[in-house]
Amino acid sequence: MKAGDLGELALRNLREAVLRSSLTTLGVAVGVASLVAWLSLGIGLQALATKRLSNSGLFDTVIVTQRRNPQSMRRPPAESSPAKNARPLDDDAKKEFERLPNVVEVYSQIRFPTEVRYDGTPYSTIVAGVPASARGNGSFDGIQGSFFSNSNADEAILQIEFAKDLSTQPSNLIGKDLVVRYVERQALPPQAGGRPGGTKADADTGGFSIVPREKRLRIVGIVETEPAAGFGGFGSGRLLIPLEVASSLRAAQVNDLRDAVRATNGKPVYTSLTVRAKSASLVQGIETAIKNMGFGTFSLQDATKSLEVFFRIFDMLLFIFGSLALAVATLGIINTLVMAILERRREIGILKALGAADRDVKQLFFVEASVMGFLGGVLGVGFGWLVGRAVTLGINLYLKRQSLPSTDVFSVPWWLVLLAILLAVLVSLVAGLYPASRAAKLNPVEALRYE
């Protein structure tokens, strides 16, 4: 029989038993919806985690330090001592890093303790300088208010927990001013040594005095999670200011005392530099190149790989869990088609008497099964998507009540839509194997006798 005729007859047969066909199709749809909902949750969570982590700056950056002594490897880079004859991490090195392919930017970390005065009350916290590039890399997605208007603006972004310390209504802080009290380094008369961030004189002397200073800043934004918190990021800063502003303050930093006594051949030396790659996948190449240049490096490449493996396993488990409903739906298809054989036994006999080959009968049942599978698949994808939207809506309502930014934990990519529909059709065809084969083997004489 021609494909068009086969399709017409199959659709007619399904229409004749519309209630049973619809219920079976609905069963497939529920199975597919379950699969799509679970998998889209896994994919959504993976995308969310990847985005958050990639925005955190932990995965697309390489932290460069001077090469360390082996015995001090277990200590954090800032505390361990450089190896003998290690290359200094100075401006020359910084320029070399900037010239490496796939490097977006290279910057030093500026982080210093401060006392913040707001509404007459003092609060101790850490100030961190944020490079202007952070605006575009998604680190500040979901910010309340706005990012710094320019790289030299006297503006501040607060981390939400710190903002809550300042006010019970954090969002009211935007537009208000606060005062940052810090200690500024001031150069002493010429001696050997120096460090970046200080003046030329400072660099030449290697010694400095500290002077208390104040700076008035306008609060322009509040971030829920601290961007790039942790090692190599903007530190545990809870008050973020533009990197250029932080640099201009010449504030004394944690490592200043140690660096003041370290011999640096009269050139300013960085404690560490952050090298940001175009993407996380390019980090390894950059890291290798920098190591070959004689520096110590640190990145979270292995952690990224572990995360990927974790989500692969997580998705697989969700797939198995979601497939259970589809397996039950398969039994529904088998039941419907076996019932159809019993009901249409005589009809099959007539078809065979009129010249239908076993293959025609088999194909007819396969087409009926696949039509139910296809429709169930399409409906199931729709249901699955709706479930995802509903859950996302619920989650976001909860997050809103908790003053947290909205998020999308479900993701239905196009390949999942295709996969779900294909799987539904495939499963339906497998379910149709036994009934179709049984119908095709019916003896026409016996089938015609059936009342």
């Binding site: 008497a353 026409p444 015609l448």
Partner: protein, 234 residues
Amino acid sequence: MTTGDGVAVRAERVSKHYEMGAAVIRAVDDVTLEIRTGEFVALLGSSGSGKSTLLNLMAGLDRPTGGAIFANGKNLSEMRSIELARYRSRTVGMVFQSFNLLPRMTLEENVELPLRLAEVDRPERGARVQEALERVRLEKRLSHRPSELSGGEQQRGALARALVNRPTLLFADEPTGNLDSATGESIMLLLKEIQQKLGMTIVMVTHERPLAERFADRIAALADGKLLTDGVKS
């Protein structure tokens, strides 16, 4: 041995035995019968004589357990399933006692069904259906479902369906069995007209001797699966 010129179908020492536990039912037992092209043969016998089984074997609906049936020069019992289906589709037309029209389809769709199975092109189908329904004078009942037709009309519709693929052999199994005598006679007249106008070979199963004697060219009588008599009627 194969069918030669002038022979439409030949059954050679054909048997169809069924095993039911320890017992063997000999539905058709060593029957040899030759149907010539254009002949109207009646298979006459009482219930259980094996006439319908023999008809089914010659129509390619069933396979014999012994002997051979030749049609178009080929042994049906040696044909593969797909070849047998093609034989039923292109060479054979079937009419049943209970009409066997599909109740969900209109008369037009029922008559069109063999054309779909034979993969006849869609544009040609309409004309073929119209032609078949005109032959049985049902051209005005195209869109009616079987339940909206009388018994005689349903059998005429079934006859149109049997003719639509232009077969050379028409097998009719008790075609008047479910009809009153007047309607049954009209169906028999139609069968006779088709035989004469189209030169078609007709094999009809019946248990009514008067009907067989009146319309058939030849009567083959069966009893207990065996051929009792085979000859041109007196």
